[in-house]
Amino acid sequence: MNKIWLIIKREYLVRVRKRSFIIMTILGPLLMAGIIILPIYLAIQGNDERNIALYEENTSFSSKLENTDNLHFVKIPAEEVSIIKEDFTSSPYYALLFIKDEENFSLYSNQQVSLSIKEKIEDKITSIIQKQKLELAGIDLQVLEGSTTVIEVETIIIGEGGETSGNAEVSFGIAFMCGILIYMFIFMYGTMVMRGVIEEKTSRIVEVIISSVKPFQLMMGKILGIALVGLTQFMLWIVLTVIISSFAEVLFFDTTSITSESGEMGKEQSIIVSEFLKSLAGINIPQLLSAFVFYFLGGYLLYSALFAAVGSAVDAEADTQQFILPITIPLIISFILMQPVMDNPDGILAYWASLIPFTSPIIMMVRLPFGVSNPELMISMVLLIVGFLATTSFAAKIYQTGILMYGKKASYKELWKWLTYKG
């Protein structure tokens, strides 16, 4: 046990001290934060005040086009139109709205007009025309406005802990995140194990080490050491992402401006936020987190033993292709199954895929936000542990023969023979 600990320590420290680890650890959250912040930032950027020059030939929209906080319509005389068109850059306008008649609308600008502005203008004109048509048809606009209704169906889950409100969209998002993260984690750190084994084999240190420890101890030490690297990186990512996002929020956005922004938007946002929080309360967060760590580790352990076996069977990374494929197929299948499982998280497909150890790490995490009964979860977890023990002992057999085979190109037949060798 003491020796395994030494190996774990070495594997961990060597990787954590690597420059690539430090770079990845810093870049990861920056990317993640970027993904979160950028759309918000861009959306707010689009909210700059814009002056739109307006010229109409035969219509009278201008009196009805209302200015908003960031969209000002300025009526211009006909002679100015050509001046603006000729030298747009020096004009004070963002765009020129040219209305020929009730069917022909053009928007001139020296740049591509932002989609949101185009849509806003379209909305405004559409509603003006609609109102005109309704009035013409003799419908009382006040009656019409009074008839507008918005209803919201609250979803409530009756579970063991009483009634909780649910939100399919939020569950969906969380399920997707969890599935992708586990998929990535298994792949990244599984191949890291494989590379580590190949490194030991090609540098010929492996025989020196296994004259001191059992091959199985070396393999497990490596797998566990790298698992700790993965957990460390993951924790650092979470911490750094939170720090960076909150910093960015303070730096880039004046939060008060978002909430106070013209009535409706702010209200809509605060509804979304409170909905989100309410449905988060509906999801069993401690269960989700502990299950995440469990499937994170379980899935990684199950697959990394196989990755180690592949590493032991080859002399160079280039030769791994043929053996990697059967390992990656169940992973890719799990990835593909994510969508159908999210659509029907209680279906027969979801049920079995979340029990089979090769797919359960990803699929169970996808199902979990939608609610899974405790006995089912327990069976899945036990099966994953059994699966991990099985793949590990299988992989260890190949590993202990493979690491001592130099310059021999292994085939599947060869691997099969290795399984029969006595350790």
Binding site: S203, R204, V208, S211, V213, P215, Q400, L404, Y421, K422
Partner: protein, 298 residues
């Protein structure tokens, strides 16, 4: 009688249909150097891996220092495999410390011993270098140190001199001899027959998974004498009776084998009739001769 540090009895090891070792028996005497010889693919590496418990034999028994070989015994055995290397990106000292601790040494003890040996071999200034900065010979020296650092009772060296220049090879040879003097038992596997002759006390010759020759090196050499004599004469014309055969002639130097129970004295008598003798001695077979003869005769 000399005590044996290691006894292997009827060791069999098969890899699928291939028999690597076929009922091999070995007795390795204590406090001496035991040469494990054999052509490539004879099964030497497999045997050494079995002694190190890297792999297990299919059948047979292994006795170490009077008792059945146990897992804990690996702390009392040191192994320098032929296929050896180090982590390239790790620093020399850190790596040596890691390997020493894997052998069960405490941190303090390991540092002390490592510093002693690094100092002795004048490599202490490499301590903070990365292995990839070292030459092959330098790395070999470090591997030698980590093999012996835990002061094992039994040391197994597989081609310990490969990769060394003559000066460094001599240093390593000197250290190996000193280890024997201090009571360590050593198994040495090498294809360099001159090294075997120089430092081995006993040998075993393995071919195709079978031990074909084993014993004290002097005795084996004696057994392989074939009454051949090296003679240098003044004359270039030599004619001998039928019971003496000239095997080889080079100028005035002859190799003559005596036959039909004739003795050295009989040969001398005949030679004296052919003029002055410059030198006369029996040709003792070299290990190389013995190796080739034993393997070819099998």
């Amino acid at each position: 009688m000399q005590k044996n540090i290691f006894i292997a009895k009827d060791i069999v090891k098969q890899f699928g249909n291939y028999t690597a070792l076929n009922y091999v028996n070995l007795e390795i005497p204590e406090k001496s150097i035991f040469g494990l010889l054999g052509p490539n693919g004879a099964g030497k590496t497999t045997l050494m891996r079995i002694i190190n418990q890297i792999i297990a034999p299919d059948s047979g028994s292994l006795i170490f220092d009077g008792n059945k070989l146990k897992r804990e015994d690996i702390a009392k055995i040191g192994y320098l495999p032929e296929e050896r290397g180090l982590y390239k990106k790790m620093k020399v000292g850190e790596q040596a410390l890691y390997l020493a601790k894997l052998k069960g040494m405490s941190n303090k003890e390991a540092i002390e011993k490592l510093k002693y040996w690094f100092e002795k071999l004048k490599i202490l200034h490499w301590w903070n270098k990365k292995v990839e900065e070292l030459s092959k010979g330098m790395a070999q020296k470090i591997q030698f140190v980590v093999t012996i650092i835990h002061e094992p009772k039994l040391l197994i060296f597989d081609e310990p001199f490969s990769g060394f220049d003559p000066i460094n090879a001599a240093i390593i040879r000197k250290e190996i001899l000193e280890l024997r003097k201090n009571g360590t038992s050593i198994i040495l596997s090498t294809h360099r027959m001159e090294s075997v002759e120089e430092i081995c006390d006993h040998i075993a010759l393995i071919d195709k998974g079978v031990c074909i020759l084993q014993g004290e090196i002097e005795k084996i050499k004696n057994d392989f004498r074939n009454s051949t004599f090296l003679v240098e004469l003044k004359t270039e014309n030599l004619s001998l009776p039928k019971n003496f055969e000239i095997i080889k002639k080079e100028n005035k130097e002859y190799q003559i084998q005596t036959k039909d129970n004739t003795s050295a004295n009989d040969l001398l008598k005949v030679l004296l009739q052919n003029g002055e003798i410059i030198s006369f001695k029996e040709k003792i077979p070299t290990m190389e001769d013995i190796f080739i003869k034993a393997v070819n005769d099998e």
